[in-house]
């Protein structure tokens, strides 16, 4: 029996919040008076905090060596504090004159999700105006996308493109040196650098419509826009739970950003997920059954799409640091209500976990960083060949493109879940005599009317095996599969046909090791 007073050997109480007072000096410069407390009891003055913040961003990029000089990087801006802060860091990093400046070519994408969050057209336009002010002030090429465009995506989005060769680790240094030499040569000789900028601007102008006539404004396009908005609202209306809505929204948003990146030639996408947000995401994904893909979902780089890599440079900043930085140094943000704004506290799994983690963090300030550091230890295993199909590439989920984790082995958790599901849905054969009363003439059908053999259930039964466990739960909460965008349904159809075809010709396929009995 545990006793409250007993201490187990070596087990300490988690560190409670120590009281820091204003009388202390900044822990770094020891001179100025501090303005905020980071982590557990570290007090920083304004200048030291700024230095710390800026340095952390550059160190994050430098440590991971993921972004090569001259690469085109798409910044995903939501208007929220973390992504706005990320934009500011990129601006600061690129504007430095010294040799240590950041060397990639940024673009920005903003996705308008107002239709899903119940905003009126007027509210959405106002938000877009505010965002455009920020986007134009940044000076980088930007792309405004509406979530409705998701219905026009090609199904190639759901196919994993071949991984572009990134080059071994030691070539990063060579790439940087080569880039610097090239820049020095260019600055001395022909003005190709400003020329390149002008070319980019021209290319971007031709792809973007003239200002003021975005997709929703022109008459014919406005009608199409209204139809798409209706479709989007219908899709989200057919999703029963807030949890599934949030997951679906994230999936669709990611597809849209990926499409823009591919179409415009960006090889990297920067997402502004903070440490706090990632800790919440980690625990939420565990609760949602996405444990198998935790490493890609919360790690620094996410290469599930193959050619476009998603990086998260803000992952070491806590939400508090970001909020303080934005307030103290005037980073503009635009607050847009999300799906779960003002929702009840137990409305979705995301909210429950967020409340849990924040509540714990208030008393034990090392909670979030502990969760984050544990997540950091996860790493992606190299893709294994799927033994069942014998193909070189493992199967991937249709929606989230993670490796499928639904191999139903004996004794696995998934098997247990499936068995319980079957038991709770089907009538046992012994019960059918009792069921005879409610379904006359249906005695031959097993389980009579309790067994759903409606066509909708068939389509769903075909669809589910293409998904990982987490996405299955989302789709199970979607009542109307027909309202899913066309690219999802056509890709599902394609995979199903391929699988059926493969099954048909299975016996004619030669195995790698097996010897053809016809040969001598």
């Amino acid at each position: 029996m545990c006793q409250a007073q007993e201490e187990y050997g070596g087990c300490d109480q988690p560190q409670r919040r120590p009281r820091v007072s204003c009388a202390q000096k900044c822990m770094k410069c020891k001179e100025a008076s501090p303005v905020l407390v980071i982590r557990v009891g570290d007090a920083f003055c304004k200048a030291c905090f700024r230095e710390y913040f800026v340095h952390k961003f550059r160190a994050m990029l430098g440590k991971n060596r993921a972004i090569y000089p001259g690469e085109k990087v798409l910044l995903a801006l939501s208007g929220g504090p973390a992504s706005s802060s990320m934009l500011r860091q990129v601006q600061e990093g690129l504007s430095r004159e010294i040799a240590k400046k950041l060397r990639f070519i940024p673009g920005i994408i903003y996705v308008d999700e107002g239709a899903v969050c119940g905003q009126s057209l007027a509210e959405r336009e106002e938000t877009l105006l505010q965002m455009e002010t920020i986007l134009q002030a940044s000076g980088f090429p930007y792309h405004l996308a509406h979530l409705e465009e998701v219905f026009d995506l090609p199904s190639s989005i759901l196919q994993r493109a071949p991984h572009s060769p990134a080059g071994p680790e030691n070539s990063y240094k060579e790439a940087v040196e080569g880039f610097i030499c090239q820049q020095r040569r260019e600055e001395g000789g022909s003005p190709s650098l400003p020329e390149r900028r002008i070319q980019e601007k021209l290319a971007e102008l031709s792809m973007r419509e003239a200002p003021g006539t975005e997709g929703l404004a022109a008459p014919g396009a406005r009608l199409l826009g209204a139809v798409r908005t209706e479709q989007l609202v219908q899709l989200f209306g057919s999703v029963k739970t807030l949890t599934a809505k949030e997951e679906l929204l994230q999936t669709l948003r990611n597809h849209l950003i990926l499409h823009t990146a591919r179409a415009q030639g960006y090889s990297k996408v920067m997402m502004g997920d903070s440490c706090t947000r990632l800790a919440v995401k980690l625990l939420t994904n565990l609760s949602l059954g996405r444990g198998a893909s935790l490493a890609v979902d919360t790690g620094f780089s996410d290469d599930r799409h193959g050619d476009v890599v998603v990086v998260r440079p803000m992952r070491e900043y806590s939400a508090k640091e970001i909020a303080f930085y934005n307030h103290l140094f005037g980073v503009p943000t635009v607050f847009t209500p999300a799906l779960d704004t003002k929702a009840l506290e137990k409305a979705s799994i995301h909210r429950v976990i967020e409340r849990f983690l924040f509540g714990l963090q208030a008393e034990f300030p090392s909670t979030v960083s502990t969760v984050y550091r544990t997540g950091e230890k996860l790493s992606t295993a190299p893709g294994d060949a799927d033994p069942a199909t014998g193909a070189a590439e493992p199967q991937h989920c249709l929606l989230c493109l993670c490796a499928l984790d639904t191999n139903v082995e004996d004794g696995s958790a998934l098997q247990a879940i499936l068995v319980s599901e079957q038991l709770s849905q089907q009538r046992l054969p012994a019960a059918s005599p009792a069921g005879r009363g409610c379904c006359p003439g249906a005695e031959e059908q097993r389980g009579c009317c309790m067994n759903t053999t409606a066509p909708g259930a068939d389509a769903r039964a075909d669809f589910l095996p293409l998904l990982c466990y987490g996405c299955r739960l989302t789709i199970k909460d979607t009542t109307c599969l027909e309202s899913l965008p066309l690219y999802v349904r056509s890709e599902a159809e394609r995979r199903k046909c391929r699988a059926a075809m493969k099954l048909e010709i299975q016996e004619f396929l030669l195995e790698d090791e097996a010897v053809n009995p016809g040969e001598s």
């Binding site: 007072s21 204003c22 202390q24 303005v35 303080f324 607050f335 003002k342 506290e345 967020e354």
Partner: protein, 114 residues
């Protein structure tokens, strides 16, 4: 002061009325009719004004809806940062900080859903 007297005469035992700029950000403004900046004057009262009393006052006078999204118990909900004169309230004594005239108090929500 007898009942019926409305005017407030500053006396050694009563705190002078305190004038503050209270700001809301990060989505917290949704609970306050979308207004981010509020210039408020706190009435005089026997006890000096501190953050604890300010929160009660805000709950009664400024908060338009869903008080549980802003206040939990006698402090702010976890996830809402408080800045007093552009400094972390943890350095100022949190709930026990005694408000001065012309102070600037900022509440920033770091929660996802505001």
């Amino acid at each position: 002061c007898t009942s019926g007297l409305r005017a407030c005469f500053p006396s050694p035992k009563m705190a002078a009325p305190v004038s503050l700029l209270v700001e809301f950000g990060g989505g917290a403004e949704l609970l306050f009719d979308g207004i981010k900046k509020h210039q408020v004057t706190l009435p005089c009262q026997p006890e000096p004004w501190d953050i604890r009393n300010l929160l009660k006052w805000i709950k009664q006078n400024l908060l338009k809806e869903r008080p549980e999204l802003f206040i939990q118990g006698d402090t702010v909900r976890p996830g809402i940062l408080v800045l007093i004169n552009d400094a972390d309230w943890e350095l100022m004594g949190e709930l026990d900080y005694k408000l001065q005239d012309q102070d600037n108090v900022v509440f920033i929500s770091t929660l996802h859903g505001g």
